[in-house]
Symmetry: none
Subunit: 208 residues, 4 copies
């Protein structure tokens, strides 16, 4: 079953791997620098010092190329997340949340512009790509934290709570990394994101 965005063939020789690598790298740079609309196969292959034909030897079409790039990108993010989140499962909830935020921020800082472009254009096109391995990883960790600290927190609906936390994480990270707001120091923002999430989770009473 060969979907439209499946890579055409896997390169076996090292030379071919280098070609594919340089194509992906070029795609990433063009996307990040010039945006989705200005990203065309000519620009990519020129920057990659490769002929168009080569591109189509490994990718059936443009979308598949970008899908592959997306996959590679989220895989790289997942590496960072796994590295930063593999420990600390016995810490306080505050520590764990703060650690989570730091990890997600680090992952977003890998290639902010590329991430931005892919998120805005590609994922919107292909909703299936929304639930990437990295997303799932973060998702799982959030659920786990909420689960393990359920007693401690006033949270009733874990589904709702984790959804909220994920949304806040994502959007605040986006804002922090991708839109460098002048006059707002990054460390203060990171602190504030933690405050917001923890505030939501641990809010003692509803002062209606």
């Amino acid at each position: 079953m060969q979907t439209a965005t499946t890579p055409r063939k896997t390169p076996r020789q090292t030379r071919s791997q280098a070609t594919v690598e340089s194509i992906l790298e070029a795609t990433a740079r063009v996307l990040a620098q010039h945006g989705y609309a200005a990203t065309n196969t000519n620009r990519i292959t020129e920057l990659a010092c490769v002929s168009v034909g080569s591109l189509y030897q490994y990718f059936p079409n443009k979308l598949a190329l970008i899908a592959a790039l997306h996959e590679r990108h989220v895989a790289q993010m997942a590496v960072v997340l796994l590295r930063d989140l593999s420990t600390g499962s016995r810490e306080s909830i505050t520590k764990r949340i703060r650690r989570l935020i730091a990890a997600v921020l680090a992952a977003h800082r890998l290639e902010p512009d590329l991430h931005w472009v892919l998120e805005r254009n590609f994922v919107a096109l292909e909703p299936a790509y929304d639930v990437s391995p990295a997303d799932q990883l973060v998702h799982g960790i959030v659920r786990q934290i909420l689960d393990e600290h359920r007693a401690e927190l006033g949270v009733v609906d874990i589904n709702l709570a984790s959804y909220m936390v994920l949304r806040m994480l994502e959007s605040l990270d986006h804002a922090t990394v991708l839109e460098p707001t002048p006059h707002l120091a990054t460390d203060k923002l990171e602190q504030a994101i933690g405050d917001a999430i923890l505030g939501y989770l641990t809010r003692p009473a509803r002062l209606e």
Copy 2:
């Protein structure tokens, strides 16, 4: 000084007003249904039952057309916001925040898909359009609330706080309106958004 996105001429007769209206309407529908990339002048004019020439009588180019649509859209959002936010400036902070959330949600529900597409594609292209009247309105109200309840809240940095509140508002509303999450009832989500913002604002102590 005629910028590239200024409408070409204002329709005077009722007939031409109807034409412009139908063009804008068609543009909105095509954008919402098919997305930015698939929105071309042919599709628009076909749906509007109008010739290409008519489009270009009133808009100097495609971008100007979308700019006009954006302007119209945010104006409509502003109407809703003004209607829902004109009162209640003497209520408790909780009430005010909840009212604000409800208003912003209502505004986003006007044309969710169109809003989404414009936000993701058009505004990204033309950053000048980021600070729409509607945005400024909400921005002002948030600052005002924080200002007037400063004593009550533990907030120190008002810039930071209002930035955070705005981000949370925006992204959570987006999520709520644009991505109909199954298993999460809208009213509960709205409640949760309030909880999150109020939690952030009124969080009594930092439990580090």
Copy 3:
């Protein structure tokens, strides 16, 4: 027999005459200022403060409009020529040639840019317009001069000679009026044109 470039109807009322006049005037200005390619009916009617419909009430199409303008222009040139050439038929050949040159230059100076544009674009399109009344007038005068001074000149073939004189007149005048050559004073050029034509006509011996 209604050819394609025949004016549609002659305006009888003074108001209509004013309209036609202002259309022609606007056409002349647009042609002279912006060139043939940038001359379109919209620009013309805007400058004329007249609706497109009005234009098409008096001219069946764009070509007819320009033909009419051309006709008007050469008529104006003819007026100047007639005024300056009506006397002096008994003077010396030198005087007559110099007078002719002065007259043709004066005629070209009426609307140099417009003349340039019409000559280069319109006449090439419609070769029939090449032999305008003004041309015929000059043509006749040249023949007459050559005829009357035949004995005096070494000229044998009057056809050839008048052809040559006309060509020299035309091109040198063009150059003088339309391409203001720096470092070459106009009066010296005018003198030189006379020298050239007279030199050709009166050249005593062939120094082969």
Copy 4:
């Protein structure tokens, strides 16, 4: 620094060279046959039996294509001029002028119609193209002749004189080659052009 009329890429393979050649050839024929206004990329590519895409692989836009054609054309003219003018620098002025006229006529006869169209439309659009290699060549030769025969001639102002000679050359050649005047034999015309120029240059006295 890539100006708007610089060719896009130089064809390396023989196949692509043939393509470029056939495009230029087709452009020349369309221009010569149908004129500047009726020359569009569709017509060109159809006649060249080539797709539009191919045209735009080698020329960034229509103007660049025509610029390239112009360049090629004047280069071809320069070849003829160089061939015919490389000798004879020690002959009498009469011989030299006659030789010059014959050479310029030969160059103009290469592709009269194309030359005409390019001169009238393209060069007028892009004045930078006015001073082509061929022009400069002729210009230099005229100056040289006048300079070397200065004593012999009554010429005082060499600037003025060479300007006049060039104008006469150009316009008379134009007329001779491009407008086949019936009843005027070409050889007689060529003779007359020489008479005119020599007459101008050697005119003994001013018979005012």
